[in-house]
Symmetry: D2
Subunit: 483 residues, 4 copies
């Protein structure tokens, strides 16, 4: 119910990937499917699993939700083996895009090799152009395939060396899982933009994007993989190394604000508690005299609870979500469009009438959905409508693995807060301050501007890694990776 990143939230930023791998378990494919199911919020449009059974690799990938793709015993049965890695991603429909569904797999000179990637490379197009020039055949349009080619052409003594050599050429955000006949490898880029954690289920090691993927199968959380760390799991156990130059950690702050599941724990902090703390901080920074605190479902729920507790104003569900909203629906005629049809939400009219209402949401992207929700709440008779946002204004595109509109399309890029307030039609609008956000996340002195504790480029434009392809002006960027 508190799930962020719902597929039907048209105006939300979208996390682009989730990964899960398990080494040596009799039910490797089933557990991976369950792990991907728990990570569904990180990518809802395609999913895949690759396994190795000691002799052969097996793969199944398709467009759709995890439950739709891995719902037949026959599908699981063909994914034989005790090692598996899996991936959830966004992808548009169609023939072409099926080729992009991960994990990618290739037969290399040392044998089969599979990759699952969460993140986005910022120099992928540049590398791809060089590879094609020397005869490489690309089968997908993902940045991830660049990594596979680099490994294929590498000359290292062993797989780890070849992987390291390949990674040293790439730039950007990546939490990666690799699978070979004898290894499962996990790597986080030096800045650690995207999460990656290590778990254990009895004797079997697990690598996954979030802790909720451990909970679903009753596995134990071991630790976060560090930024810049590479772990290699074989039947002899796990080894760790740091093959990259040191870099300051810049974990994506939006994972706390919206992307991650509230029941996950990241870097030792509960995501749910972080959101409540942000809501409480918001109540301190931007109080308002009101009768009700109402979350925008479902993105604003924990922050609204935090705001309500801090302010002492009652928390209530003033907007009811319809659970059964499917993916497609009849095209409304113009006449129907005028009726203001509300398929996803309905105002809880009896609750809202004549009340002063504070709506709490995580962010405003284009503002179109916010505007409709405010209109609906006013239509239900609210006396006043205030909006409180649990992040600073979203002003810049993300190049590190989140699907954002172009900078120009972001409402906050060209509009002041008061313009936005007017656009969405509220009596007052406040965003949490940048320092307030850092404060709520445990940095009592706020943001360290000389060495920021998180990547907050979407609010500040302060991009930790050079945007090589973007600056080069590649007009057709590779499909957002991680991706």
């Amino acid at each position: 119910m508190l799930q962020p990143a719902h597929p039907f939230d048209d105006d939300k930023l979208k996390e682009e990937c989730g990964v899960f791998g398990i080494f040596h378990h009799d039910d490797a494919a089933t557990l991976t499917a369950l792990g991907l199911h728990a990570l569904q919020h990180r990518g809802q449009e395609a999913s895949g699993i690759v396994t190795y059974d000691g002799a052969h690799f097996h793969a199944h990938r398709d467009l759709g939700l995890v439950d739709e793709i891995f719902n037949a015993p026959s599908v699981i049965a063909k994914l034989k083996g005790r090692i598996a890695i899996g991936h959830n991603r966004y992808a548009t429909t169609g023939d072409t895009m099926l080729r992009n569904v991960q994990p990618l797999y290739a037969d290399l000179s040392f044998g089969g090799f599979a990759v699952a990637h969460n993140g986005n490379l910022t120099n992928a197009q540049t590398l791809r152009d060089e590879l094609v020039e020397t005869g490489a055949l690309f089968q997908s349009t993902t940045d991830t395939e660049v990594i596979v080619h680099l490994v294929a052409r590498g000359r290292g003594q062993n797989i780890q060396d070849r992987v390291i050599a390949a990674l040293q050429k790439i730039e950007g955000a990546y939490s990666l899982l690799f699978l070979s006949a004898h290894h499962m490898i996990g790597v986080r880029d030096p800045y650690g933009f995207r999460p990656l954690i290590l778990g254990r289920l009895h004797g079997s090691y697990i690598l996954a994007s979030e802790t909720c993927a451990l909970d679903i199968i009753g596995a134990e959380f071991v630790r976060d993989i560090d930024p810049g760390e590479m772990v290699v799991i074989t039947q002899d156990g796990i080894t760790s190394s740091r093959p990259f130059e040191n870099a300051p950690s810049r974990f994506c702050v939006f994972e706390y604000i919206y992307f991650a599941r509230p029941d996950s724990v990241m870097n030792g902090s509960s995501v749910y508690n972080a959101r409540k703390a942000i809501g409480a901080q918001l109540a301190i920074e931007s109080p308002v005299a009101a009768d009700l605190i109402v979350p925008v479902p479902d993105s604003g729920v924990p922050a609204a609870i935090g705001y309500a507790e801090e302010s002492g104003i009652p928390f209530d569900f003033g907007i009811i979500r319809n659970h059964y909203v499917g993916r497609t629906f009849i095209e409304p005629t113009q006449a129907i469009r005028h009726l203001g049809v509300k398929r996803k939400h309905n105002a809880n009219r009896a609750l809202l009438k004549d009340k002063r209402v504070v709506l709490v949401d995580d962010s405003i992207v284009r503002g179109t959905t916010s505007r409709k929700i405010v209109e609906m709440v006013r239509g239900a008779g609210a006396a006043e409508v205030h909006m409180r946002i649990s992040s600073p204004p979203s002003k810049y595109s993300c190049f590190y693995g989140i699907d954002t509109p172009s900078t120009e399309e972001l409402l906050a890029h060209k509009n002041s807060v008061s313009e936005i307030q007017k656009f969405i039609g509220v009596d007052s609008l406040s965003y949490i301050s940048l320092d307030g956000l850092y404060h709520a996340l445990g940095f009592t002195d706020g943001r360290n501007n000389s060495a920021p504790q998180f990547c907050d480029a979407c609010f500040t434009g302060d991009y930790p890694v050079t945007l090589t392809d973007h600056l080069r002006g590649s007009c057709q960027p590779l499909k957002g990776s991680g991706a």
Copy 2:
């Protein structure tokens, strides 16, 4: 998010039907599909619409969710006409059951005739046997078809008279919509077990199960149809009559507790507010020293808010629901079953650890799900787990349109509260009292035992209408109607 009756709540009672009709609108089929979409919680396994275009009747029915069935422009396009009625229902899969999907349609001597039914007849099998004996051919196994045969064989001057004559032979619970070339008729049985409301969209009349079906299309609520009332809508307007003998109103109290959508208003009372009031009453009746009030998602949410407000204990989401739970999934192996896989929910461990937790839910049917949830909450480290139920113990089967297990399967039928407490493994368990329930619903003196204000047979065994078929011992009862 507050939606009750989620399709995946295996251990919840299930509302069996929702109906919607609109008279004279250019977009009759689309609006009916939207109305059914808003009523999806009343029946998730099949749906249908019948329209009339001035010359021909058109029908489309299928198994699945409304969004799946009416998602193609071509489907809506074939449902021509300005009058439409629609229906949501439960149904098991398969060839046979497709014949049971409503609205039922027949060519009678006066022309086409369609019916949509919410409720359940208690003498359907008896009537059916008589009809078959005299040569009637039944095409479905629903009780509703009995009504169609009775109308077909009726001898009244006009349709209304034939409908009335037919209804005078049937017993049980029914909120019915009929459609002919010139009429849309709505009727509620004399006891008014199931809801039926009247709305208006500009000049077009609407009949629907709940007000949320008006909200979705921006229509105006006019009034509830009264128990025992029949309204006939033609192009000349609407007329009302009361063709039955008077009976005391016995509206289903469980509509307030769980079935109806929280944003609906029934008999002038907000369902959401009613649930909060029940939760508050429960806090008064059964307080407990605790740190957190946690709703069982999603059935316990408003009652938990009410309980929290009354008790002053913080409300928090200690159980996180996975939004993406599909209908089918891989069969877990025995090994996996032992892991205690939790596909639907996850405990919010960081929140629950070392806390005294009060779980709030609407009811306990078989107790199996409650038991698992308690185990999960304990597994997350809760210091104490208490359970508060916002209805009295469910002890008797419903024969008026709700899909309940047989009386024997109901946990509370043979077990005391302390036995149930032990079974589900909580430190304390309390149900709201019967009088407390009535009190929370506005009857300050509680239940009027000589003339109860609601049907509460599921708690008391006090069945307002004789169970003709049941007492006759028909071993193969007709498929629960309304149904």
Copy 3:
């Protein structure tokens, strides 16, 4: 290869049904599916089987070919029991029409009852109107359902009596199979328009439309059911009766010309040999100096062999059929249409060039296909093209179970042979004479005009049974039965 009634022969008359039943065999459903497979040429658009397992009836019906509908072990597995009847039919697509797929089934007062019908009733609409007037609910739009209602309302002592009473009210063409818990009944109408034969597989009786349905399962042919005969098969054996007034036998002559499979034997005569004899008679009546006898595939093959043998002119495949023609295909653009695309046939150019060619076909309905074929043969360089037709001109619609265009659409209805010759573009055109046809079929004196040996209404307009509905001018006739 010699199969008539190919689904893709757009301009051929279409047989409307095939029936098959077997009484007491462990593999009743499988054998019925095989029998229907052998009868596929009699109806390619829908198929169904009803079985009885001693306790329950089971049904499976769908649109499509037999191999598509009964291709899953799970489908056959659910058709339990040792008695089965099945049916192939034409049907247009869509929801409505699925209800028309036979066998029809109903629960009557004496128990389950199923019917499969080959033929067409000529007073079905009249009877239906009477039935609806007295409250009968029709679930299909087939004439066959009229029979079910008549049986349901019958008052006879036993099933046979009720069936006989029902049949005495109907008029037209019918070869019927009935199934009840204890009986399989077969009946042919008094004129015997459509075929029905009796076979035996070890101890199990079989009723089927044609002998080829016996051959496929290795069953033995016993005899033809006589016109006006009713056989009742129970576990005690088979009994025969003649419940109708005597009528002269009027078997459909077109079964010999085109409808039946060439490997079937009807009334003691091989269909293949009959077609060759007709071809030989045609060669005698209408010789022509030519180099090649070329059949129009596949309808003209045996007659062409007969013509070739009689004339001494070589038989050769001058037109090649593409075996892989599917049901649907891309819409050709106007430009492509001009290319004269020939997806179904190709001229065997090397064979036809500079030759005088005699094309042999079974009939000309609208003439559109014939015209294209002639054009194709001329385009391949034929010096002369002659057409010989193995039936007299088709001038009148059939009302006895064959799907024909209305009389007005039949090319021969308003056009002389020389006009048709001109329209299709041949150097000469001859049809077999009516007497020649009867002669070839073994009646050396030709047609007995005072008591014709066959129904030849499509050539002569001499309809043996009054066209009650047609004369009454019912504008919306029931869906062609048998049908």
Copy 4:
């Protein structure tokens, strides 16, 4: 009807591919789909088309028949452009194999590049191993992809040079179509194993496997592409070159015997006439006193007509094929298997009874089907059954693009003619002689043993091109190309 290579002929050798391309036509995709439809007999399990619209390449490939894959206007609509190449192939089902469906496509340094291949490379595995060793990523398991990698890594000045350089490394059988933004290239290997012809539709050039693909769209036949010839079609016209060393022409003789469509013309000879000539030669070599010449449908038809004409014995269809045989069907129980179910064929009993019958077929592979057919004909009462085969005994596997069982599985590999006669149960059996075959095909002196006019390795074991991979003992050969 005369179609060889029917998908349901289980015991026939199978042609593995057909190709079609058209340069500069507004309806390029539609015409290619039609051409592939006409070439359906060369590969029935998968099909694909790649087009270029002046800016982008478009592809659609799927498993199934051409009519199933290209049946939607939306599919054709997305295949924009005025240049297209297409391909039919065999493929087993499943995820993996979809990657093998041709045309293959890749983005090379000079732009998009697509390939369609009919044939089989004999050194593909050897080349692939070398390529993988140097970092090439293979996306399919086809030999054809080797060619794409060789072109990708080539260093020629232009596409033609790179294609030539690549082809100089490959060995085996290939008729290839290449598509780039500016070129359509056609090549036949030096021996010309597989056919490739040039046609023209107004101003547009066409390359295709057989002339029947020209006939279907009304295109004009220009000429055969010569063995070892490469034609390059651009908007400036067509140029021809011979980039390979000279080699003797060794066209596959089985194209005449069975693979090609009878209405095609190859190397100036009608396939239909060739088959009749072989049948006539067989009658001269192996006469027999008989009453009827009966073709095994459909593979033996033209040869049977030739045999009948030469011998003066009547030709008749003694075996009737069921046109509606689908791909899958119910699993017969053991009991049913004993009935000798004949779903595909039925004996024309009335014709065969007491006759001396000569069955004519094109070949015997494993002999299992022949045996069943003979048994069926005897069961229908034939007095004698003789078999005449229009090819010499099939003793050796093909490595040049035909799907044959391994040599060990070929009945004639280890059995003499008299042993085969006994196995299939005929009164006499004769194959055409090798010299007789060459004679019938126009070489009056028979086979030139020092320089054979055809590839007849399947009869003689005389393989024109070294079997590099086979001799190297590669245990997992690449999926038969062309293929």
